[in-house]
Structure formats: structure tokens, C-alpha cells
């Protein structure tokens, strides 16, 4: 049996994380670096990415790279892959974490909004994974983790552009998994509501709505970004060598609404 250190060490690994200036991607960057990996912090917000990378390097003593990348622009994905290879020489893991969606009344979306959401939440992950595949295939226990969302598996008429794109992402992951074993593993973390500061507010929530949302979870709270990062880390680790094509729900036990609602 391998020791716990052998199972969960990421020394010598190079991991690209997208949307990593944000809450969940940033937490993943800190976690993987603390376990020994060189992380590439990529984000549309280039300054944010560089700042997070500098913090990670200072904290962990392992070199991290911050780089501006718009995940929906293919030429920028080429640059991301090239820069990673020049700097660290390989790609052992990828976390396709970019994603976002705003509340829209179900009949008020349109082609442009639907397509934009698909490009951001689904196609960008496909394009980057495709570019990383030749390098991932060379590395032991290489794997790709995707940030899925509970809105992609439950009816979510409030977020129709986002929820349908996230549903597509899950199917993409399963398809990649069945054809890419044994060389590369593909898994999704299915995320419940996680406190990411202003981003949730920008998606249409106010503090009172967030309080009620917290109450709806079996665990009576929203998640912390690091709790999602822990799941990503488990799925990428040597302990998960025989896990591919699955969705790991990290969602506070799910939500539950009583059929006998109390007045409040």
C-alpha cells in the first residue's frame, strides 16, 4: 500500500488552472502548490492572475506562473499551452474551471446569449483540453477536472443559458473519459453554491437571497472554495488512479425544500 504522502503528493506535476484569479480556481492553485505542484494561474483578469501566482509562490515556495488568457479565444489558448511548456516543460493536469452565468427569465434569452454561454462554459474547455492532450498523454496518471454545477443536472429555468451549457459540459467529460483511458482521466466536480464574494451578487443574488439559499442546503450553509479544491485534488491524486468519467457532487448534502413550508 502506498503511504498517504505518496497518494497525495503533487511534487513534479505541472497543473494549468483556468479562471484561477477567482474564488475556486484560486483555492485550487494554493492547494496544489502546497502539495508540491507548479501551477499555472490563467484568467481573463491578467493582473489578478499574476497577483494570485505571486501569493502562491510566496506562500508555498514553489514557482507559480500567472498569465492572462481569455478562455474563449483560441489563439490565447495556444499561448497558454506554449507558455506553460516553455516555463515548466510539461503538462500533467488541467482544471477547466472557467464558467459563469447570469439569471435570465426562461423566455427572455436569445441565440446570442445562449451561444455566448456555450462558448464560455463548454467550448472553451473543449478547446483547451484538445490542445493539452498530446502533452497529458505523456504524463503518468494525467487527468483533467472540470467545474460542473448542480444547475446542470437539476431543472434550472432561472439560469437557462448557463444550466444548459453546464449540462453539455458533463456530457463532454463523459465522452472524453470513455475514449481516453487509460492514458488520461476526466472527471467533474458538481458544485453546489459556493461563496465567491461579488461574483454571486453580479449573477443576480442579494444578501437575503443568499441567506435563504444557505438554509436550503442540508448542511445549512454554502460551501467554501477550498472544499471544492479538496475534491479536485482527490480526483487528480494517485488515490484516484482508477476513477474516470464520474461527477463528484460537493454540495452540502444537496438542497431540500419542505413540502410543508413554514411562513417566514
Amino acid at each position: 500500500m502506498k503511504s498517504i504522502e505518496q497518494l497525495f503528493s503533487f511534487k513534479g506535476k505541472v497543473i494549468i488552472i483556468t479562471g484561477a484569479a477567482g474564488a475556486i480556481g484560486g483555492a485550487a492553485g494554493h492547494l496544489f502548490a502546497s502539495l508540491g505542484a507548479n501551477v499555472v494561474i490563467s484568467d481573463l483578469n491578467g493582473e489578478g492572475a499574476k497577483k494570485v501566482a505571486a501569493e502562491i509562490t510566496a506562500e508555498s515556495g514553489v514557482e507559480a506562473l500567472g498569465i492572462q488568457t481569455n478562455a474563449t479565444v483560441e489563439a490565447e489558448l495556444d499561448t497558454l499551452v506554449q507558455t506553460t511548456l516553455e516555463k515548466f516543460g510539461k503538462i500533467s493536469g488541467l482544471i477547466n474551471n472557467v464558467g459563469w452565468g447570469a439569471a435570465t427569465p426562461i423566455w427572455e434569452s436569445d441565440t446570442d446569449k445562449m451561444v455566448k454561454s456555450y462558448l464560455l462554459n463548454t467550448v472553451g474547455a473543449y478547446n483547451l483540453t484538445k490542445r493539452c492532450m498530446p502533452y497529458l498523454e505523456k504524463e503518468p496518471n494525467a487527468s483533467v477536472v472540470f467545474s460542473g454545477s448542480l444547475v446542470g443536472v437539476t431543472p434550472s429555468p432561472e439560469f437557462i443559458e448557463y444550466s444548459t451549457a453546464k449540462a453539455g459540459l458533463m456530457n463532454l467529460v463523459r465522452s472524453m473519459a470513455v475514449v481516453s483511458g487509460p492514458k488520461v482521466r476526466f472527471n467533474t466536480v458538481l458544485i453546489g453554491s459556493v461563496d465567491n464574494g461579488d461574483s454571486t451578487l453580479a449573477a443576480g443574488y442579494d444578501p437575503e437571497m443568499l441567506r435563504r439559499l444557505s438554509e436550503a442546503f442540508v448542511m445549512k450553509r454554502r460551501g467554501f472554495p477550498m472544499e471544492i479544491a479538496y475534491g479536485m485534488m482527490f480526483l487528480m491524486s494517485n488515490a484516484a488512479e482508477w476513477i474516470t468519467g464520474i461527477d463528484l457532487r460537493i454540495d452540502g448534502g444537496g438542497t431540500y425544500k419542505s413540502k410543508m413550508p413554514k411562513k417566514d
Binding site: S3, A177, P182, Y230, N238, W242, Y256
Partner: protein, 258 residues
């Protein structure tokens, strides 16, 4: 963040059923290496003793308990013995189980045999959860992990009793997660695909293995450590916001025979 901190179970107490061999043994060793004191329960007391001795030889803490999970008094006794030895219970791994292997021809299996699978796989896990929950509640940290099976969502020939009992475990997992709610006690399940143990060896031939791998993206059968690693994730505080989940560890495929 230090690794031993992320997976630290020191000061925690684990109960594992069917801990004398196979997956259960790997789980006992893994939880011990993460720092937990382990009560190794098994129908075969000697096998449980061997595992407890191995743990102690590595510097861990363990006791062996004779426990047939289909006998209620023995379940009660195992929890009592654990609390007597270690003062509490934090982690319960319902691993003892059986049936399956394509030996459940619907026109031949008896009512008693069908019921026995539910008694062994479902009832024992429910009863032990009931017995351990008050101790978990009291200590403020509880994680129950049910070992179900890939067969719970596959369609396989001559597996209706075992598969249905394991599907019942998945759903019981989700329901108990809600009942215990609130964060102190989490309930999750790990669903192994075909994993190399004595139980599998009793039905495995090279031809069957080749057929199984034909549907498995990661081209090998499971090792007991693959399952134990997933159990460790659910046992450790890093999965504090995860409950009601069934995680399949199956090489990405189904190891059905056609």
C-alpha cells in the same frame, strides 16, 4: 497546508465491518495510517486479529471484534467493544456484504436467499448507522461510508437480488444524509467496480477478466487500495461539505459480462 493535516484522523475512531480481508482490510490499514484507531470487525475473528496485529505492528491502534453483521447482538456488541476500547465512534465503514457474481437465477433463487442479501447488505448498514450515530453526534464528528457496488446501476444477468440490495444502499445513503443533516454526521457511499479480492477471484477467469476490461477505459481491474483511497476522502475533514453522495470507483466503465 500540510498533507497530514488534510487527511488527519488522529484522535478519531473508526469501525469497519468485514475488515479481515479484501477491501475492508485495505480500508482498515488506510484509516490507521491517517491516524484513526480502528475496530476491525469480521465474521472470521482470526482474520480480524491478523489485521489488528498488522496495524499495531505499524504503530497504530486497533482491536479485533468477532462480528457477523447479520446478527443484531453482534452489531450491538461491536459498537460496545469499540466504545469500551476507544471511548467513541467517528467513522463507520459498512463494508461486509455479499451476493452477486451472476449466481441469482430468478427462477432458482429462494425467498430466503433473496432476503438474506438485503439483511447482509442493507439492514446491517442501517442498523449500525443507528447504533453509531449517537456516539458521532456526541463527539461532533461523524462520517458513515457504505460500500455499495457498480452493480447497483448496471444491468447484469442473474444479479437482481445483489444489485437491488446495493441500489437500496445508495438510496439509503442519500436519505440518511438528509436525516442526519446539519454537518455533524455525513453519509456517503463508494461503489466499487470489479476489484481484485477473494470474493472476485471466486468467479474470475482470464476470459471473464478480458470481457470486463473490454468495457473499462482504464485497462485494469480495481485494486483494494483504489477503494480505500475513496473511503479516506469521505472519512477525512476535507469532505466536510459532502454528504449523500455515491462515488463510483470503476475505471470509468462497467465490468458487466456482455
Amino acid at each position: 497546508m500540510k498533507l497530514n493535516h488534510l487527511f488527519d484522523l488522529s484522535g478519531k475512531v473508526a469501525v469497519v465491518t468485514g475488515g479481515g480481508n479484501g477491501i475492508g482490510k485495505a480500508v482498515c490499514m488506510m484509516l490507521s495510517r491517517a491516524g484513526a484507531s480502528v475496530a476491525v470487525g469480521d465474521l472470521k475473528y482470526e482474520d480480524a486479529q491478523h489485521v489488528a496485529d498488522e496495524i499495531k505492528a505499524e504503530g497504530g491502534k486497533a482491536i479485533a471484534v468477532a462480528c457477523n453483521v447479520t446478527v443484531d447482538e453482534e452489531l450491538v456488541n461491536m459498537v460496545d467493544e469499540t466504545v469500551k476500547a476507544f471511548g467513541k465512534v467517528n467513522v463507520l465503514v459498512n463494508n461486509a456484504g455479499g451476493g452477486g457474481g451472476g449466481r441469482e437465477n430468478p427462477s432458482k433463487i429462494s425467498v430466503d436467499d433473496f432476503a438474506w442479501r438485503f439483511k447482509l447488505n442493507v439492514y446491517s448498514a442501517w442498523r449500525l448507522s443507528q447504533l453509531c450515530a449517537p456516539h458521532m453526534e456526541k463527539d461532533g464528528y461523524g462520517s458513515i461510508i457504505n460500500i455499495t457496488s457498480m452493480s447497483s446501476i448496471n444491468r447484469s444477468p442473474n444479479m437482481s437480488a445483489y444489485a437491488a440490495s446495493k441500489a437500496a444502499m445508495n438510496h439509503m445513503t442519500a436519505n440518511l444524509a438528509m436525516d442526519y443533516g446539519g454537518g455533524k454526521i455525513r453519509v456517503n457511499a463508494v461503489g466499487p467496480g470489479a476489484t481484485k479480492t477473494a470474493a472476485l477471484a471466486s468467479v474470475l477467469t482470464p476470459e471473464i477478466e478480458a470481457k470486463m476490461l473490454a468495457h473499462t477505459p482504464i485497462k485494469r481491474l480495481g485494486e483494494v487500495d483504489d477503494i480505500a483511497g475513496a473511503v479516506l476522502y469521505f472519512a477525512a475533514p476535507i469532505s466536510e461539505w459532502v454528504s449523500g453522495e455515491t462515488l463510483f470507483v470503476n475505471g470509468g466503465g462497467v465490468q458487466t459480462l456482455d
